[in-house]
Amino acid sequence: MRVVIIAALATAFLVPQEAFAEQALFYKEINLIGGYSDREHWIGKSAELMNSLGFEYYKKFSNDYGDFLTADLQMRMAYDSAEPRDDAWGLQIHNAWLQYKLNSAQRVKFGHFDVPFGLEQVLDTHGTLLQTLADANIGFKQDWGFALDGALPNFDYNAALQIGSGMSIYRKDGSFLATTRIGTPTGRNLQGGISLMYGKVLESIGMFTFPRAELVCDKTVLKKRVGLDGQYLFGPYLMKAELAYGKDENKNVIGYLYELDYTLPKLQNCELQAQFQSWQHDLNKRGSDDSTLSVGVAYKLNSQITLRAAVAHDFNLMEGGEDDKVLFQVYYFGR
């Protein structure tokens, strides 16, 4: 299996650019990450990112009457430094979808794609150290299924029915995930959205698609949510915020995130970031929250390579105690 994956990735890296038509884009990706945590000492991963090698292939299909189909395949061969060496390598499929255009206001999508809930739907966090609430809220950022989405003059809508297992494919205990988000168009300086979620979700350990990430248990967790999110761009400042409230089975849960990004006017390839996010797993139980303050910097070295660093303080981990962490990342994304 591993040999097949490595061969596929190697082939992808060696294919000459000329092999692709002008309606396609092919990007290579390398993510190198490492750091130090008070609790775990030397670390080679963050909550969402591992050292990895991958690619993205994006293609538009058209006929005489225009574009009618879009395809995206984005995958990584990743190394999970927290696992024993024999189990450390795995394939992560992030995007694997086909989107068919029904008309100018409606599209239908099949495959593995972002769960339309909260900020994650409108941000690209694929390679960033700072993440949204998605992982704490749902358990994953993307899932397998189908969606109907589109853009009307004053708002975007997106509704999805997915299988509720995230990166890997499982169908157990009637798992499913139904989500919808309605938001303002993404081109505006002030944007907002409201999201709803209802589903029976499987919780897994790890982020591999192949071999499949292990499940915490075979039982699903019933999740109900309502969420609000917003962004505001003002001069060099970009503010992001989101809030999610609902239930995990019988427990009331709430989570919120606030982030402020600042682009240095004199050095615009450098951005400073500060984020606070908190997720309370049981509103009736004191100390059941995970709360983290992160301060980071992203420096675009050239058009392909971005260097990132972040310092994070966990005020209260769910399992108790505090933690300080520093992470460094070299991220390459280029054609």
């Binding site: 650019q17 002008e22 309606q23 396609a24 884009l25 990007y27 290579k28 390398i30 190198l32 490492g34 000492h41 030397w42 080679g44 050292n51 538009k60 058209s62 005489d64 009457y65 225009g66 574009d67 255009k101 100018s104 206001a105 599209r107 589109g150 853009a151 009307l152 003059p153 975007d156 168009p185 993404t186 081109g187 300086n189 761009l233 003002f234 001069g235 060099p236 682009t263 006017p265 615009q268 390839n269 675009k300 050239n302 058009s303 392909q304 390579i305 070299v330 390459y332 994304f333 280029g334 054609r335």
Partner: protein
């Protein structure tokens, strides 16, 4: 205790050094092979096309780079026409620009194209819709980071670009005034960005159509 700590530090140091060496090697190899990553595409082409060309029935997206179209010579020609150096991060020779050919039935009736342009506080995204001869039919900001963004994005300002062509920019026939009080840099960036957009449309689409 001290001995084991020392061993731990040495072992961690070796790991970090190995990762660094492999990383730098990989990056150097890739930088030799690499192409640039980002152009400026429409945030929602279906809605934007319908708004800018209500009579359209579809559109076709093409990704075109200066490198593939005319190489270094074309890159230099674009700099000459622009009268300015292109940015070595955001305006590299291999940026894949997304061109939207607007269709009515099978017939192409116009184009939409966007560019990123460095402004005073961050990137601006300038989108123009043109007819087949490159005359601006519509202009808007998809992203505007100025503190006076509202003034720039107001139709009273953006509509002043309607009817202009690349020739008007080259000959200095553009008489649009700065709508801002303290954002002269963003105004100049807008003029540069629209001129760049028209040059790219002319150079890349013209060659592609031949």
């Amino acid at each position: 205790m001290i001995k084991s700590s020392f061993r731990f530090i040495i072992s961690a140091g070796k790991k970090i050094l190995s990762v660094l060496i492999i990383s730098i090697t990989l990056l150097m190899v890739l930088m030799r092979l690499s192409y640039a990553a980002v152009g400026c595409s429409l945030s929602d082409p279906d809605r934007d096309v319908k708004r800018l060309f209500p009579e359209s029935t579809g559109y076709r997206t093409d990704f075109i780079t200066v490198k593939d179209t005319g190489g270094e010579a074309l890159y230099k020609k674009i700099e000459q026409e622009l009268g300015d150096k292109l940015d070595n991060i955001y305006e590299t020779i291999d940026v894949p620009y997304a061109f939207y050919g607007i269709l009515k039935g099978k017939e192409v009736i116009g184009y939409i194209h966007g560019v990123n342009q460095k402004g005073e506080y961050g990137s601006l995204q300038l989108i123009i819709a043109t007819d087949l001869k490159g005359k601006i039919l519509n202009f808007y900001y998809q992203r505007m980071s100025s503190p006076e963004a509202g003034k720039f994005m107001d139709k009273n300002f953006t509509d002043q670009f309607i009817g202009l062509t690349l020739e008007d920019f080259v000959k200095g026939n553009v008489s649009v005034s700065d709508p801002s009080k303290n954002s002269r840099v963003d105004f100049q960036a807008t003029l540069r960005g629209i001129k760049k957009n028209l040059i790219l449309l002319n150079e890349l689409k013209k060659i592609t159509q031949e």
